[in-house]
Structure formats: structure tokens, C-alpha cells
């Protein structure tokens, strides 16, 4: 060993209170210029592991390790004063969402300068501002002198994340730890940030990347550690782990990633016996008048400062029975507003939506109410869509149409359909996991036997394995009841996996629409091409 590894971790254990062990023995080493990725779903302990490397595992955490050294220096029994000298100077840390990871009330420049002040780097104020501007330039922020004086909310998502990275690189630390650095970003912005991190690594920094996104990890990592419930289930060189995963869990994770390849197949192993279902998707029937038709939808909002913002500028599309239309676009493209107009929760300023050929958004609410049973919605965050005081049973029972006969039996049937056991009847939504809540939301949505279900980013907040189960459930329901979906998402993989046709939106306009393979494999318009190019691919084709 010519020189000791930059960071060496041997049998790291972290527990909160008696017997609640969150990290059960993790070992790895990190060298300068290399990137180690720690992959796992929520609750796998990957964040706690990262934070214990800088002594911030959390209040009341008990951190033990046989060996925890940085550049040969033992960190296990470091007093807090010493830790403060390490954080920022030797090890930089980047958190997930810059909007909440930067102090909203202080200019971005001062947040970056804070690190300099703490470690006594730049003496005078001018020296500090120069240093900050140089840092912002290095991370690719345009007009750094102007941006330094602005508040976080005045910067774009990408610029904010770059400023956050600049803050962690202020003292040129040898090791940079990034916990989900791009999760909150749009695909195109994510690509640029990943380039920045790769460039930083190329300049000789060691990088530890924490992520639940296998595609991102496969692009960046040299070595990979896969964690599950606090234990390392697999580790090794990135190409080896991705090409021939040794552990069953890793294989299942890789399979669960929806993409064009997984179209028409099941993402998750069928946990419960499913009624016999044709594997092939039923071909959508193109009856002469489509189930749902949107013509020239326009919607304008008045911003708090009085100026007018046009969210949707003339979007038209149609949805036929048994078909899934995917709407994809980045945040701010207006896709959610379209969804709300289709649900008639927002009235369009121009244009209208027809349901079964009849006027829908044009109707007054009183008349429209009795037709609402034909169309329902599934939200991204199901929790806020349930009345906190109600149990699951009451939520579903209340959504049954008035004329439903034997309601109790119908509720049991619906729970079964979304594979939730009877025990869940008396539980409250707050007590359920993210996946279970979404199943209840879906049960409520299908209660009135609707023809159309609008899904507004239903799976983007879920872990990959849970996301896979929900997507399979939606697929099964479509086959069983011939439901048409209007599926809104920013994740191209999900869209490709589930949609028959796709509509690409940008800045409130429909830039391109058509068959899913035509659009996503052979995009014509510039914006779609950039979008498709920016999506990180699993670099190594999965061995059959």
C-alpha cells in the first residue's frame, strides 16, 4: 500500500436508541479520482451511512466502526470541535433539493462565502466575493456576479443546484459526498449536473454518490454498493454488478426499471396469484368518435406580482377506449394543468373537452356532477387527497355511486383488486406506506367503474420496486376492465413502458405526438431529441 486509501470504512454500524440498528456493518474504501455509488431504496440506510462519514448521523445516533479513517486519520472518536474542522475543508457534502438546502432568506453568494469564513480562508469581504464568483463560474453558473447577490428562489432549478455544489467545493475538499444530487431536477438539467460531477471527479476529487436511480448510478459509478435494510447485499465494480448481478435483490431492482424494453411485460414478480391475464396488451379499438377529446385548450394564471402567465397554449389530443395516452414534459410544461382541465377541476380560458362526444368542460358543475362517475383521478401525493379522519373502508365506501347495491361486498372486492388484505379496512391512510396509499387511491378511482382514469405523476414519489408493482396493477386493471388512461409523467421510462401513444409538451405547447415508439425512438422535433438524449441509460445491457 503505497499510501493509505483516501477514506477507509470497516464494519460501520449505526443505531438509534435500544436495538434499532439502521446500518448493520458496511465496509468500503474510496480513492482520489474514483466514484463510489451507494444504491438502495428508501429505508435502506444509505443516507445515514453517508452522514455518519461526517459525524452527522442524526440526533441520538450511536455510530460504531472497526475502522473509519480519512487520509489515515482516525475519525471514530472525534470530538465535535474537531469534526467541524473536517466538514467543509476535507469532506464536502451536497444535499438533494437546493431550494430547501439553501437558506431562502440570504443571497446565494453569502451561503457559499460562509464556508470560507468558517475555515478562515479569505480575510476581507472583497477577497471572499471574488472567490465566490470564481467558484460559481467554475460550476457553470451564468453571470456569476449578478447571481451571487440573488436569493435562491430567483435562480432556476439547475442554477440553484450548481450553487449548492459550489458551496460544498468552496474549500476544495478532497472527498465530495452527494446525496441524491439530481432527484429533484428535470431530466435535461440532471444531465448537465451529472456532467459537472463527472468533471469534478476527473479533476482528482473522490466522489461518493448516493442514489435510488440505477440509470444515474450506472452512468457515474466506478464501484457500486447495493444496500437493503441496512445491509450490503452486493458490492463490486460497476460493470460487473450491472451486467451479472450476483444477488437476487439486485436483479429484481434492475428488472423493475421501466423502459422501452419492458413494454408489455411485468416489472415485478407477481406476489399474489393473478387471475389468468393475457400477457399481450389488448389492441386499442379506434371507434369513430374517441372516448375523450380535447380541442385547443388554453389556460392563463395571474402571478402574485400581478403579471399574467400562460400555462397551456392551445393543446389538442384525443383518447380512445382501452388506450393509454402518455403526456410527458418537464416541470412547468403545463401537463398537470391539462390533466386538471380534463377532470374539469379547472375551467379552460379557451377550447373545451368532450367526453363521449358530449360537451364536458362547457357544462355547469350542477349538470356535470352526474357524469363525473365516468372519469376519475389518481394524484401524485395520495395522502393529501384523503380526509385525515377517515378509515380506508370509509374512503372507498364513500366513493361508491349512490345506486351501488351491496356496498360492503363491493368494498371487499375493490380491496382485493388492488391486492390489499381486509385488515386494511379499519386503518387510517396516515398509518399506511406510500405504495399502500396509492393502492387505496386506485381502488377509490375504479369504484365507480369509470371509462377514463387520469393519472397525474402517480408513481414518481415511489421507490423503484413499489413503482413497479403499481405500474403492473394499472396494467392489469386496464386489461381486466378496458380502462383508458391519461398518464402524466416526467419519467420517459415509465411513459415508454405504459403508453400506447404519447404527447410531448414543453412551455405549455404540444410539440409532438404519435405512437410511443415513433416519438421516443425516432423523435422528430428538437426538444424531444434533447429530452430523449438526456435520459441516463443503463450502460450495460442486462444479460438475458
Amino acid at each position: 500500500m503505497i499510501n493509505p486509501p483516501l477514506l477507509a470504512v470497516d464494519n460501520l454500524r449505526v443505531s438509534f436508541g435500544r436495538g434499532n440498528e439502521v446500518v448493520k456493518g458496511v465496509s468500503f474504501t474510496v480513492e482520489a479520482g474514483r466514484c463510489l455509488a451507494i444504491v438502495g431504496e428508501s429505508g435502506s440506510g444509505k443516507s445515514v451511512t453517508a452522514r455518519s462519514l461526517v459525524g452527522l448521523a442524526g440526533q441520538g445516533a450511536l455510530v460504531q466502526a472497526d475502522r473509519l479513517s480519512f487520509e489515515g486519520r482516525d475519525l471514530t472518536a472525534l470530538p465535535d470541535r474537531e469534526w467541524r474542522r473536517v466538514r467543509g475543508r476535507h469532506i464536502g457534502f451536497v444535499l438533494q433539493d437546493a431550494l430547501v438546502s439553501l437558506d431562502q432568506l440570504r443571497p446565494v453568494g453569502r451561503e457559499i462565502a460562509e464556508g470560507l469564513q468558517l475555515h478562515g480562508e479569505a480575510r476581507s469581504r472583497t477577497e471572499r466575493t471574488e472567490h465566490v464568483v470564481r467558484l460559481l463560474e467554475r460550476v457553470g453558473v451564468p453571470e456569476p456576479t449578478v447571481k451571487a447577490r440573488q436569493l435562491p428562489h430567483e435562480l432556476s432549478g439547475g442554477q440553484r443546484q450548481r450553487a449548492l455544489i459550489a458551496a460544498s467545493l468552496a474549500l476544495d475538499p478532497k472527498l465530495l459526498i452527494a446525496d441524491e444530487p439530481t432527484t429533484a431536477l428535470d431530466v435535461t438539467v440532471q444531465a448537465r449536473i451529472l456532467d459537472l460531477l463527472a468533471e469534478t471527479q476527473a479533476r482528482g476529487k473522490a466522489l461518493i454518490l448516493i442514489s435510488h436511480n440505477l440509470a444515474v448510478v450506472s452512468r457515474m459509478a466506478d464501484e457500486v454498493i447495493v444496500m437493503r435494510r441496512g445491509e450490503v447485499v452486493e458490492c463490486g465494480a460497476a460493470d460487473q454488478v450491472f451486467r451479472e448481478p450476483r444477488h437476487e435483490y439486485t436483479r429484481r431492482l434492475l428488472n423493475a426499471v421501466p423502459s422501452m424494453h419492458s413494454r408489455g411485460t411485468r416489472l415485478a414478480p407477481a406476489s399474489a396469484p393473478r387471475p389468468s391475464l393475457p400477457v399481450q396488451p389488448a389492441a386499442p379499438s379506434y371507434a369513430e368518435n374517441p372516448l375523450l377529446q380535447a380541442n385547443g385548450l388554453v389556460k392563463r394564471f395571474r402571478r402574485p406580482d400581478g403579471s399574467l402567465h400562460t400555462a397551456v397554449r392551445g393543446v389538442s389530443f384525443s383518447l380512445n377506449t382501452g388506450e393509454t395516452l402518455g403526456i410527458v414534459g418537464e416541470s412547468g410544461s403545463g401537463k398537470s394543468t391539462v390533466a386538471r382541465m380534463v377532470m374539469a377541476l379547472e375551467t379552460p380560458d379557451e377550447g373545451e373537452v368532450l367526453l363521449n362526444g358530449a360537451p364536458w368542460t362547457a357544462l355547469p358543475e350542477r349538470q356535470r356532477r352526474k357524469w363525473r362517475r365516468g372519469i376519475s383521478i389518481v394524484y401524485q401525493d395520495p395522502l393529501s387527497s384523503f380526509d385525515p379522519r377517515w378509515t380506508v373502508e370509509r374512503v372507498i365506501e364513500d366513493s361508491l355511486p349512490k345506486d351501488e347495491a351491496h356496498r360492503r361486498a363491493r368494498v371487499t372486492e375493490l380491496l382485493e383488486l388492488v391486492s390489499l388484505s381486509n385488515a386494511f379496512r379499519i386503518r387510517r391512510p396516515l398509518e399506511l406506506s406510500g405504495g399502500q396509499r396509492q393502492r387505496v387511491a386506485i381502488a377509490r378511482a375504479i369504484a365507480s367503474r369509470p371509462k377514463v382514469i387520469v393519472c397525474d405523476e402517480p408513481v414518481s414519489a415511489l421507490d423503484v420496486s413499489i413503482q413497479a408493482q403499481i405500474l403492473d396493477l394499472l396494467g392489469d386493471l386496464k386489461h381486466q376492465f378496458g380502462i383508458s388512461y391519461l398518464f402524466i409523467s416526467h419519467d420517459l421510462g415509465v411513459i415508454h413502458h405504459l403508453s400506447d401513444r404519447v404527447l410531448v409538451m414543453s412551455q405549455g405547447e404540444a410539440v409532438e405526438s404519435g405512437d410511443v415508439d415513433d416519438i421516443l425512438l425516432r423523435p422528430q422535433c428538437r426538444y424531444t431529441q434533447d429530452l430523449v438524449a438526456a435520459v441516463p441509460r443503463l450502460r450495460f445491457a442486462l444479460a438475458a
Binding site: 356532477r369 363525473r372 376519475s376 383521478i377 385525515p388 379522519r389 396516515l430 377509490r444
Partner: protein, 299 residues
């Protein structure tokens, strides 16, 4: 709190449902902090003093004894005696009924005003909202003191006028809170989801908006009780309280003010009663709020 989970359903073989409810109750009981129990105990004492003063009183609160005036707290007179030999502890106990009547009365009045205004502003249209908000601002600009002085001077000081004076004075604050609560719940996710299900506005208001918006009301009432009593005693302090020889806490404070140098207990004990009452009510209110807000985020 000894661990009680073992004695629940498992050994006694109750049905699942009952066992579940029993453990739910047991965990519920053990989760309440000790301070809430203490507060509940004290409040119970005050309620007893209000309903049946005879039980707690050691002497006749109105009996003067010219040979034992201004005696320091002792075994025979727990809170000492006042300037005409009356037992201060008995007078505080006797005064509880009147003070609490003022507290409860004022809170009920202010809550009813606040509810009507708050709901009208919260659920009514934009017109109603801006009109009522403007009116509330006028009420806020009025110093509460003036409203109280006004009532008491026109209708001379009785418990009723004090209730009206304090009630009207505190109503605007609660009205604004209720309005905010209704506006927030109106924008909640589950209200929109119910609209999507095709429920009528009346059904949504009945099923979702009212129950969720009214929940923090419980907390407001407990906080209101404490504030009203402090307010009423303030008025008595300015000589606008109820007529002597009433032992209402505010009147006791007013009478004891000049003796504070030589007979501190005349001033300290009634003040102490007011604070302990208001404190116990607030602690219970605070706990209710944590329990309700903590677990359920209405919006």
C-alpha cells in the same frame, strides 16, 4: 406507567377487534404526559370549587372577624385573612364560580360571534370575505379596554356586563383564526378529490370542511377561557369589577392592591389562582392541539 400490553387481549383471549381497541386505549393513556394529568387534576379542583364551594371552603367567605385581621397564611387560614378578618382561601374558592362564569360566558359569547363572522368570511364569496375582514380590522383598531369601559359605564358593573365586555373584546381575534382555518380547509386536497367524485358542495361542506375546520376550535376555546379570566380581572383592577363583597378573583386583586407591602398574601394568592387556572387550561389546550395537529395535517 407499568407496561400494560401483556394484560391486553392475548392472555384473556378477547376477539381481535376488542383486543385492538384495548391496546389502542392503553397506548393512548400512557402517551399523555404527566403535566396534562396534573393540569386536569387542578382544573377538576376548580370545577368542584365552582359547583360546590362548600366542600373546599374552610370558613364562611363573608364572615368578618375584627379580632383576626390581616393574619399571614397559617394552618387555620391557609391563604391568611384579609383586612376585615375574612378567610382569603374561602373567598378564592367562593369566587371561583363567579370568575369561571365570566370566563365561560365570555368565551362562549366571543366564540359564537367569532364563528358566525369566521364562517361567513371563510365560506362566503370574495365580497363577504373582504367586507367582514374590513369590519374585523375596525374591531381590532378599537382598544378592547374602551369597549369594556363603555359597557361597564352604560350598564353598571355586573357579571353580565363583564361577560359582554370581555366577550366582544376577544371575538375579533378568534374570528380571524376561524376564517383562516376555513379558507385553508377549503383548499385541501380531499375537498378537490370529493369534487372529482361528483359530490355536491353541501355534502362536501358537511362531510369534510366543517369537521376538519372546526377541530382546532377546541383548542381555541381552552386558550380563550384562560385569557377571558385574566381580562375580566384586569377590568376589576380598574375598579370596574363586580360590586363588593363579591369574592370574584379580579375584585380580590383590586382590594388587595394597597396591602401588597404589608399583607402580600391578599394580592399574591388570588393572582396565583388566576395563573394556575389559566395555566392548567392552556396546558390541556396545548396538549389537545399537539394531539390533533400532530397526527392529522388537515391541509
Amino acid at each position: 406507567m407499568s407496561s400494560t400490553s401483556t394484560i391486553t387481549g392475548t392472555r384473556l383471549g378477547f376477539s381481535g377487534d376488542f383486543r385492538r381497541r384495548l391496546t389502542y386505549v392503553v397506548t393512548f393513556v400512557t402517551s399523555i404526559p404527566v403535566s396534562v394529568y396534573v393540569a386536569a387534576f387542578i382544573l377538576g379542583g376548580f370545577v368542584l370549587a365552582a359547583l360546590a364551594p362548600g366542600v373546599l371552603r374552610t370558613h364562611d367567605p363573608f364572615r368578618t372577624d375584627l379580632f383576626s385581621t390581616l393574619q399571614a397564611p397559617s394552618l387555620s387560614h391557609i391563604f391568611g385573612t384579609d383586612q376585615s378578618g375574612r378567610d382569603v382561601f374561602s373567598r378564592v374558592v367562593q369566587g371561583t364560580a363567579q370568575s369561571m362564569a365570566i370566563g365561560v360566558g365570555a368565551t362562549t359569547l366571543s366564540m359564537s360571534i367569532a364563528l358566525t363572522l369566521g364562517i361567513a368570511a371563510g365560506l362566503g364569496g370574495r365580497m363577504a370575505d373582504s367586507l367582514i375582514s374590513r369590519f374585523l380590522e375596525v374591531m381590532f383598531a378599537f382598544p378592547n379596554l374602551f369597549l369594556a369601559l363603555l359597557f361597564v359605564t352604560i350598564f353598571d358593573a355586573t357579571t353580565a356586563t363583564l361577560i359582554v365586555a370581555v366577550g366582544v373584546g376577544t371575538a375579533p381575534g378568534y374570528a380571524r383564526m376561524i376564517r383562516g382555518q376555513f379558507l385553508a380547509v377549503r383548499r385541501a386536497g380531499y375537498v378537490e378529490a370529493a369534487t372529482a367524485l361528483g359530490h355536491s358542495w353541501q355534502r362536501i361542506v358537511r362531510q369534510h370542511i366543517f369537521p376538519n375546520a372546526m377541530r382546532p376550535l377546541v383548542v381555541m376555546i381552552t386558550l380563550g377561557l384562560g385569557q377571558s379570566i385574566v381580562w375580566a380581572s384586569g377590568l376589576a383592577f380598574l375598579g370596574l369589577g363586580v360590586a363588593p363583597p363579591s369574592p370574584e378573583w379580579g375584585a380580590l386583586l383590586d382590594a388587595g392592591r394597597d396591602y401588597v407591602v404589608n399583607a402580600w398574601w391578599l394580592e399574591v394568592m388570588p393572582g396565583f389562582a388566576i395563573i394556575v387556572f389559566a395555566l392548567s387550561v392552556t396546558v390541556i389546550g396545548q396538549h389537545l392541539q399537539d394531539r390533533l395537529e400532530g397526527r392529522f395535517h388537515p391541509v
